[in-house]
Point group: C3
Chain length 317, copies 3
């Protein structure tokens, strides 16, 4: 069991958060329940709880992402932690130090939590295996592999609006091939008992192996959206649009952009999600992004609470 | 009235600080009075007051300015706020996200105050019009348009040293054309009842419309300085010196540099101000910058108190 | 006496920390004793003491070093100070402001401590001579000149493991010529009464004047390591390896890399130190870096405590 769940301790508690793959259903719900308790903190006059007071959280970003770093920074500060931001490409890595030497070094400063973003799949795992028992690693996105806090905030959002996972049809639309968000969401949705997860995209952006994960594959957005309860639109990376995998952004929008007409094929009360930042007019139409079915900004709000939950849970494991 | 004063709420309180244009005289004095109460905080053993404890201040700098960002960061921390710095050019903007999507996103994290610096005139207004009622925008400089906290700290400095605005002659010297500081100062000085505001500079750096604002225009520094109580020297941007608008820095200094000899034409107790950073030997002589009439460092000290005042006032509006 | 010790106040207390040169032996021990009291803070549940609460610490890095900046940031936050990071090359310096104008400006914001890193030897001294009595300067590395907190944490480490300085042989290995760490360590070791300090390196990387400082010079690593108690390995800067001073990294490792075989020539209980970041396989073999005699990570841990000690001492001087 510790083999299969390197992120859990001997008592089955969350020690690290590395991936949603293999994360037990009960534990996911416990994270979401804990997050529910933190949603209200943002409405208080003093938006702080003292749970991580005197703890040191290091935002270790080996890949630049101001947006994601900000969500963790705010979450940590609302837990009263001390936060240090390290943009590691510009420092020791440039000086030729190895990843694990950087980690050892920061660990020796009595760090409590590393929030790690890295371009290489697996880097947060490598770090988690390396650090001592008092250090906790949270994966903030590694290569094409996983983005578990994004998936958990998506689950929070779905649970908030749809209550019961076991009656849902969820469609994930776009560049599934390169998306750590898609991968992490598929694992979480499956674990939570969603009976029908659909992946929709052009063939060039659909990875092999989706059917083995229990996902239904569609290359037609119209067919794939039929009667779904949840639409998760993925960001189309700019580099894909300029690359060989896609003809153009206009072409992409024509076939896979979520327009009001396309969305009308889903259930009338379907919700629309997007991990941000959005390319309006490419993967999503502004009328949808700003429309009544969009819960995109709720995702952001819940994301702070989910990150507070994860940080407080690993720190007390 | 809310039309003319988008920065005031229905009770006439400061909800945002976007510009000094149209800011009522009584409100400016209230800001300066509030700042006066904060000047002493810097002298205390513990330089902190708990007014913004648990509030989230985002320094949203779409244009780099370590100096200005630092003043707001220090002011927010002395008010016990949590501060997050975002250098936005390197993040979501690069990824193609729109300004208002970035703003919505950060607002959804339960931000309380956005301190906004932007190369485009009007960006902070656009943001202020967009955000919900619990969010407050402070303009930290937008294009050539406005820099209201700089103007307010200048007003604080003038009031501190000269007491009564209604008896003063104030000269603003230099690149008026490109200066948001000049523009914001002219509005504030006029509102506060300064009977004579002068703009001094080469014709190429004087905008049209100054006379309509009630400003007397001089191209001769000697004539313009005669009998003034206050000299506000503007920074000459390096790019102007290399451009077509000016022959050279040496030439500029010869005609518009504030030397002790030139300053002697002002009243003997005239004060000299500069928003910083200074080009010594270009727009100001070191003997003046470091001389007894210079209040340049007082401006900086008062600037922290003024920013604390503005932040605490908008947060409680 | 204030002539020789610009970093001490009239009572012989530490007002600034600029260099280990001329720092009295008793004062070094007092710093290490103070640091000993802070080592335990990292093991507490709440890793904070309120000693610098409400104080403003500015990390003024005119030369980029995320690693060193992080150690000071963590140390200051554990003392409950407010910390502002300024990467000064990208701001006012680029705008042409002079170093001392930048300093005056920040001082006017009621700063308490400047932690200064600068590429120019002597810059922190210049700043210390310039600032008023309530401001304290800590040199975080200036040019090739000094890196006193690194030397003090090295002294802490040696005292921790070896107790008595007066019976030791200490070898410093590598690029002594360009190393501010070597220079600061030699001064500290000599002051603390180490009877035998050795410098080992290729002739091209050994400065003249070592013998005058009481240091024994070796070009043979084998000879130099014989019977030493402490080996301080220096980082080989990448630029040296590509330059004219050294044939190649491989060649350097062959003659001056600390391998287990070479280390066996030292005393069996000799400790191995390195200021980091390490070039494994260049100046140090991984078997040594990760071996039982390595105290490299203890240096990092003690470094936080030493920096807390220095900050709290200057602030209360």
């Amino acid at each position: 069991m510790p083999e299969r769940h390197p992120q859990l301790n001997a008592h089955g508690e969350l020690r690290h958060l590395l991936t949603t793959e293999g994360l037990p259903r009960a534990l996911i719900h416990r994270i979401l329940d804990t997050a529910a308790g933190f949603v209200g903190v943002a409405d208080k006059d003093i938006k702080k709880v003292p749970l991580l007071r005197g703890k040191s959280v290091f935002n270790l970003f080996f890949e630049n992402s101001t947006r994601t770093r900000t969500t963790f920074e705010i979450a940590a500060k609302r837990l009263s932690a001390d936060v240090v931001n390290l943009n590691v490409n510009v420092s020791s890595t440039a000086k030729g130090e190895s990843l694990l030497d950087t980690i050892d070094n920061l660990a020796a400063m009595a760090a409590d939590i590393f929030v790690v973003r890295h371009a290489s799949s697996g880097a947060p795992f490598q770090i988690a295996q390396h650090v001592g028992p008092n250090l906790h690693v949270i994966n903030a996105g590694d290569g094409r592999h996983a983005h578990p806090t994004q998936a958990l905030l998506d689950m929070y959002t779905i649970r908030h609006f749809k209550k019961d996972f076991t009656q849902l049809r969820v469609a994930i639309v776009g560049d599934i091939l390169h998306s750590r968000v898609a991968r992490s969401n598929i694992h979480a949705l499956t674990t939570l008992g969603v009976p029908e997860v659909r992946a929709i995209g052009p063939l060039t952006l659909l990875p092999s192996g989706l059917r083995e994960m229990g996902v239904r594959v569609y290359t037609s957005l119209e067919e794939g959206l039929k009667d779904v309860d949840v639409v998760i639109t993925l960001r189309l990376q700019n580099e894909r649009m300029r690359g060989a995998l896609l003809p153009s952004a206009q072409e992409y929008y024509k076939y896979y952009g979520l327009s009001p007409e396309k969305l009308a094929l889903a259930k009338p009360d379907a919700i629309v999600m997007h991990p941000g930042p959005m390319n309006r007019g490419v993967e999503i139409d502004s009328a949808v992004a700003d429309g009544p079915q969009s819960v995109i900004l709720s995702q952001v709000t819940f994301g702070i609470a989910v990150r507070m939950a994860v940080m407080s849970m690993v720190a007390s494991s």
